[in-house]
Structure formats: C-alpha cells, structure tokens
C-alpha cells in the first residue's frame, strides 16, 4: 500500500507552530526560574530547617514525585476552581510546572548541598559569615555546579512534559499541532513536525543551559 504524506499542508501553517514554540519556551523559562528558586529554598529547608519543616518538604517532594504531571495539572486547573480558586489555562500550567519542577529540583540540589565538605562551612563560620551568607556564598555555588547537568535534564523533562498543557487549552506547541490537524486532517504529519521541533528544542535548550550555567549562575 502507498502512504502519502503531505508536510506542506502542515508547514504552511507555520505561524501557528511559531506561536506554539513561543508559548512552550515561555512556559519553560518561567517555570525553570521559579522552579529552581523554589527548589533551592526547599533544599535549604530540608537540610537546615526545623524538624517540622524538613518533614513538610519531604512529604511535598514525595507526593509530587510519585504522581503523574497530568494529574497535577488537572488538579490545579479543574480541582482548585471547585475550592474557589479560578485560574486561566496558562496560569494553571505554570503553577503545575513550577510545583512539579520544584519537587525534583529540591532533591537534586539537596544532593549537591549534602556533598559540601564540612571544612568549608567551618572556614566560612570562622570568617564570621552568618548562616545566610555561608549558604548563599559558600555552600550554594559549588553545589549548583555539581548538580547542574541533572538540573538541566530535569528542566528539559519539564519542558517536554508541558506538551500535556495543551490538554487544558494552553496554546503551546502540541496544542498548535492539534489545531492544525483538526483543520487539514493531516494528523500524522502535524505530530511528526511538532515532535521534531520538540527534539530540536530539547537539544538547543540543553546546549544553552550548559553554556549559561557556568557563566552566570555559579562562576567557572
């Protein structure tokens, strides 16, 4: 049998695809920044906080890591309005992505923090740095450097996971592919194109973050 593929029909809708890419990248950037910042705060709480705080963060991390992202997203978008919190699809997507990433980032960053040699903390203390300064200037930069590759991988996993956000009509890349195939019935081609764009994004974002991290986040 012959299979006829018509990619022109899909590619001619490039403005939709471009808009989808912008949304996907935008969602990823926002949730990566907020997720990593939250991850640092939670990691601090988990290794330095009061016992109840450690327990709370631990429970949060396990709850998020052991449930699927799509359920978290549906809970935020469909479940919370029933409790009186109404959210737009975009805001719900960002909240779910930040929650998801922060839980994984907490575990990753904590591993880096735990690997800090005790002598370095003692050295910082003996230089009369307070606890906050010790954490931000002495413990955190090398910890981030150590775990940066894992953190980058996790950010990419969250970016690929954001394809699900199209299900609540956030207009990201998979939503664009869905819209295109509903117009021209070229479902296979539309999803092939979207998949290849995701692959390019994944490779590109990894390169970019590997370049950005050492330059702006924790020094060489």
């Amino acid at each position: 049998m012959r299979v006829e593929l018509d990619f022109i029909a899909v590619l001619s809708q490039w403005p939709l695809l471009a808009k989808g890419v912008l949304w996907t990248v935008g969602l990823t950037v926002i949730s990566a920044v907020m997720g990593v910042v939250a991850g640092v705060a939670f990691a601090w709480a988990r290794s330095h906080g009061a016992p109840w705080l450690k327990w709370g963060v631990g429970t949060y991390v396990e709850l998020i890591r052991n449930t699927p992202f799509i359920v978290q997203l549906f809970f935020v978008f469909f479940g919370l309005p029933a409790a009186g919190v109404k959210l737009s699809p975009e805001v719900a997507s960002i909240i779910a992505m930040v929650i998801n990433l922060s839980a994984y980032a907490t575990e990753i960053i904590r591993a880096g923090i735990d690997a800090t040699p005790k002598g370095q903390i003692e050295a910082a203390m003996s230089l009369a740095l307070n606890r906050m300064q010790t954490f931000v200037r002495v413990v955190l930069p090398p910890a981030l450097r150590k775990v940066w590759p894992s953190l980058v991988s996790q950010i990419i996993i969250v970016m690929l996971g954001s394809a699900v956000c199209g299900q609540i009509s956030t207009e990201e890349l998979s939503y664009a592919a869905n819209l295109i195939q509903s117009r021209n019935f070229r479902a296979f081609e539309a999803y092939i194109v979207a998949t290849l764009v995701y692959l390019t994004l994944a490779v590109g974002v990894r390169q970019l973050l590997n370049w950005l991290g050492p330059r702006f986040l924790f020094g060489r």
């Binding site: 449930t67 359920v71 469909f78 690929l160």
Partner: protein, 217 residues
C-alpha cells in the same frame, strides 16, 4: 439528580486503576525485552549499531511521550493497521520504556571493569558466553535499583494514555468528574491512588540502592 458518595468515586477509580497496572506491566515487560535486544545490539560492536541505538535513545528521550502516543495512534492507522487505544498505548509506552531501560543498562555494563571483558576474551569465550557468564551477572546487581526506580516513571507515563482515549485511572477520573461535578474530590483520589502505586516502588528502589552502596563500602 443522583448523589455520589466519596466511596462511590473511590471504588470506581480503584476498578480503573487495574488498567493502569496492566498497561504498566505491558510497557515494562515489553520495554525490558526490546531494551535488552537494543543493549545486545549495542554491545555487539556491529558497525553503525552504536550510533543507531544512540539515536533511538535520543529520539525517545528528547521528545514528549504525549507526541509519541499520538504518533503511534495516528501512525499505525496510516499504515493500514487497525489501531485501538490499547495497541497504540502499548506500542508507544513499550518503545519509550525500551529507550530509557537500554540507556540505564548500558551505564551498568559500562561500570564493569574493562579487565573483565579482556579476561573473558583471553579465555576464548564467545560473545554470547562472555555476556552470559561474565558481564550480565555483574551488571544485573547494579542494574536492579535504577530499573525498579524507572518503573515509577512508567506507571506515571501510563497516565498520558488517557489522552488517546485509553480508559485507565486518569481517564476514569475525567469521566467521573463529568458525571459527579466534583473535580476536587475526584482528582485528589486519583492522585492518592497513583501515590499508593508509586510510593512503595520508590521506597523499594531506595532500599535496594542503599543495600548496594553498603555492600560496596
């Protein structure tokens, strides 16, 4: 209007959860077999195999599982194979799982000292004997904890099959929400059931990992 109690909701979700378990098992077993074949192909040092399997892994790890599911669903139909959500979800999740497992196991094989390979070869073991008697018994020990850990990812991955109409836990949650108008309760229960499935596996993986680290020291 019919009133639904929390128990009604929970009981129906519990019934749907078995399809999540079945699909996870299909994907895990199928993915394990395909992943093993890919691993052997990669270790065989046939020309081009390493690049080919590497590309396969990159393809599945670098694209969303949701897109893979859509492609399986529409792609199989395009080639004249009658697809149900069952077939598409099983195929996509099997391939997805195989890519991750083969990569995990490659790392475990790489952790075996080169001297072991050389010793096997100097004893004139064939490639098959070398794998069977020298490499696999050692690799399997370090491979078990990350493999069990990945099972959690597989269970969570099956949730996406709901999008192509496979009725499992998440899809059942959506359907029950539409009938009861209680999204908060329903999705809480759904999340709780996933947690009940995944958390014990996570804990078990962690225990296995600790055991291995303790043996090594």
């Amino acid at each position: 209007m019919v009133e639904f109690s929390v128990w009604d909701i929970f009981r129906n979700l519990l019934l749907a959860a078995r399809w999540t378990v079945v699909l996870s098992l299909i994907a895990f077993v199928g993915g394990g077999i395909v992943g093993l074949l890919l691993l052997v192909a990669r270790l065989s040092r046939l020309r081009g195999m390493n690049t080919l399997v590497g590309g396969y892994v990159q393809l599945f790890q670098g694209t969303p599982l949701l897109m893979q599911l859509f492609l399986a669903y529409f792609g199989l139909a395009l080639f004249g194979i009658k697809t149900s959500a069952w077939v598409a979800a099983s195929v996509a999740l099997t391939l997805y799982t195989s890519a991750f497992l083969t990569e995990i196991w490659r790392g475990c094989v790489a952790a075996i000292p080169k001297g072991q390979w050389e010793a096997g070869q100097s004893l004139a073991l064939s490639f098959r004997e070398l794998l069977q008697h020298v490499v696999v018994p050692q690799a399997i020990k370090i491979a078990i904890p990350p493999t069990v850990g990945f099972l959690v990812q597989v269970v969570k991955g099956t949730a996406l099959a709901s999008v192509i109409g496979f009725i499992e836990l998440t899809k059942a949650g959506t359907m029950i929400t539409n009938a009861t108008f209680k999204p908060f309760v329903v999705y809480s229960c759904v999340a709780l059931l996933y947690f009940a499935l995944c958390f014990p596996i996570s804990l078990y993986a962690k225990t296995l990992e600790k055991k291995i680290n303790a043996n090594r020291q």
